[in-house]
């Protein structure tokens, strides 16, 4: 059942991609052209006014596209205020969580013995993705909010140089980013399929809210599975919309470009918010968590508390212990 929902989401994202790719240009006014712009726009229901040009640039046959103004209002209005608020609220919630719950400790104390959690390939995939993501996120957010936040501080020339550099980095790092996500997807998808244990984990709030509560979990708990699917689907959405933006007008028209930009801007900021929470719990939020991706080896007691079923599984195979 859950799997089914997941499939539906994936289909929805793919369908969106296809829609962007095939958004057909509105036909020119078929019959009489009224002698009035307002009347024609009304006849076309605000769609673009398209004719014929004698230059080999297809885009230029669009005489007027009033949607340009709507795109601008959507981007400068709801999209940017949503993004700004989302980031602000995320940071405040995480800070409040740290203040109230504090750093989550290993309840039974460190065992002093470790167990291998992620091998070299897994850590390579993770850090490749992570480093690219940080640069993509910062350079992307600079496009959305830099004009309001950074430009007044460093001035127009420095800001233009910074943004040019950011744009180059954003373009080039998109490729290793996609590669990293693909690798993680291949390595970890079988550990991230939803199952019955996840329900108990969610019911107990993952043990995040109370000391001493540790619902059972496999290699990945329900929270991590959610992050995994957000990353896979989010990266797919960002890659489809991002490559449309990077290769402008190759596969779509002006309406498609505008849609791709909006989808990209929203998906980008949502991903940044989710990954902020992920970084929090993987570093300052929880004792012992960073080692999993740092050295790849975690403390045995940490593993027993947070991934009990996985520890049993590894031990059954007779591996893992140092």
């Amino acid at each position: 059942m859950r799997l089914f929902h997941l499939k539906r989401t994936i289909w929805a994202v793919l369908a969106l991609g296809v829609m962007i790719a095939f958004a057909a240009p509105q036909p020119a006014a078929a019959q009489q052209v009224p002698a009035d712009e307002a009347a024609l726009l009304q006849q076309l229901k605000g769609g673009p006014v398209t004719g014929r040009v004698s230059i080999p640039d297809v885009k230029s046959s669009v005489l007027i596209q009033p949607q340009g103004r709507e795109w601008r209002e959507t981007l400068e209005g709801p999209v940017k205020s949503f993004g700004g608020w989302l980031l602000l609220v995320t940071v405040v919630v995480l800070a409040a969580f740290l203040a109230i719950r504090g750093r989550i400790k290993i309840d039974s104390g460190p065992a002093g013995r470790t167990i291998e959690r992620f091998n070299g390939t897994e850590r390579f995939a993770h850090w490749l993705t992570a480093i690219c993501f940080i640069v993509l996120g910062l350079s992307g957010l600079n496009l959305s909010f830099g004009r309001a936040v950074v430009l007044p501080i460093i001035g127009p020339e420095a800001f233009a140089s910074l943004t040019t550099f950011g744009k180059l980095a954003h373009n080039f790092l998109s490729f290793p980013f996609v590669l990293g996500v693909l690798l993680m997807a291949i390595l970890w998808i079988r550990h991230n399929l939803p199952n019955a244990i996840d329900i108990t984990w969610i019911k107990q709030g993952g043990g995040l809210l109370q000391k001493g509560v540790h619902p059972p979990a496999g290699k990945f708990n329900a929270g991590q599975k959610v992050i995994f699917w957000f990353v896979v689907i989010g990266a797919l959405t960002l890659a489809v919309s991002g490559y449309i933006l990077m290769f402008p007008f190759y596969v779509t028209d002006i309406a498609g470009m505008q849609l791709a930009q909006l989808v990209h801007a929203v998906a980008g900021v949502v991903m940044v918010a989710i990954i902020l929470a992920h970084i929090y719990i993987g570093s300052i939020g929880m004792e012992g968590a960073f080692d999993a991706m740092g050295s790849g080896k975690v403390d045995l007691n940490w593993a027993k508390e947070h991934h009990s079923l996985w520890v049993q599984e590894v031990r059954a195979r007779g591996a893992g212990d140092d």
Partner: protein, 198 residues
């Protein structure tokens, strides 16, 4: 001070492309870039109509609003200009512009765009008036010489009018009265939000 505008009387436009050629020549606009173009609606059919279009130097210009590096500025005469030193070629102004005015040279890798180029109302750019640097980046600065845009001056039928918005609106209004019908003042409803009631 005058508020500069363009007005194309599509009843008169014969799609001769003199405005397009004049613009390309005056500013030595590179290949593949068209600051001005003529679009024909209903080509070859009843009610065919040609309109010469370039940057309309909008009221509350959408391009200015979306530019991530804020490189646009508006002159006292309402002309929308930009700095090619600051532009990063992101293409956002093209998505926002109702008239497809911004143009980009194709440079470098992927589909990446060079510095945006568009109609300047023959008013150059941020560099000092009528310097070589200004000419190389933005073309001629005729306004600084007390002249109006060359496209409209070259127009064989005087369909394309450029100048003080009130004056050209008055000329157009007189034409409409004399011939008994209007031809739309294309773009005015979208650019200046005044409609084509002139």
């Amino acid at each position: 001070m005058a508020r500069m505008k363009f007005l194309c009387d599509s009843e008169r436009c014969i799609e001769c492309n003199a405005c397009v050629t004049a613009c390309k020549n005056e500013h030595e606009v590179p290949w593949g870039i068209n600051r001005r173009r003529v679009v024909t609606l209903n080509d070859g059919a009843k009610g065919e109509r040609s309109i010469s279009m370039a940057c309309m130097h909008c009221e509350d210009a959408p391009c200015m609003a979306v530019c991530p590096v804020d490189c646009f500025y508006k002159t006292e005469e309402g002309v929308v200009l930009h700095s090619k030193d600051l532009c990063i070629g992101c293409g956002y102004c093209f998505y926002a512009c109702p008239f497809g005015a911004p143009q980009y040279p194709q440079v470098g890798n992927f589909g990446s765009r060079g510095k945006m180029d568009k109609c300047t109302f023959c008013a150059g750019g941020p560099e000092a008036d009528n310097t070589k640097e200004e000419y190389l980046k933005y073309g001629a600065n005729r306004l600084a010489e007390g002249k109006l845009p060359l496209c409209a001056e070259m127009c064989s039928t005087k369909a394309l009018l450029a100048g003080d918005g009130d004056v050209i609106a008055q000329i157009y209004k007189e034409r409409v009265t004399r011939r008994g019908y209007g031809s739309g003042a294309w773009g005015w409803a979208t650019a200046y939000k005044t409609g084509s009631s002139v």
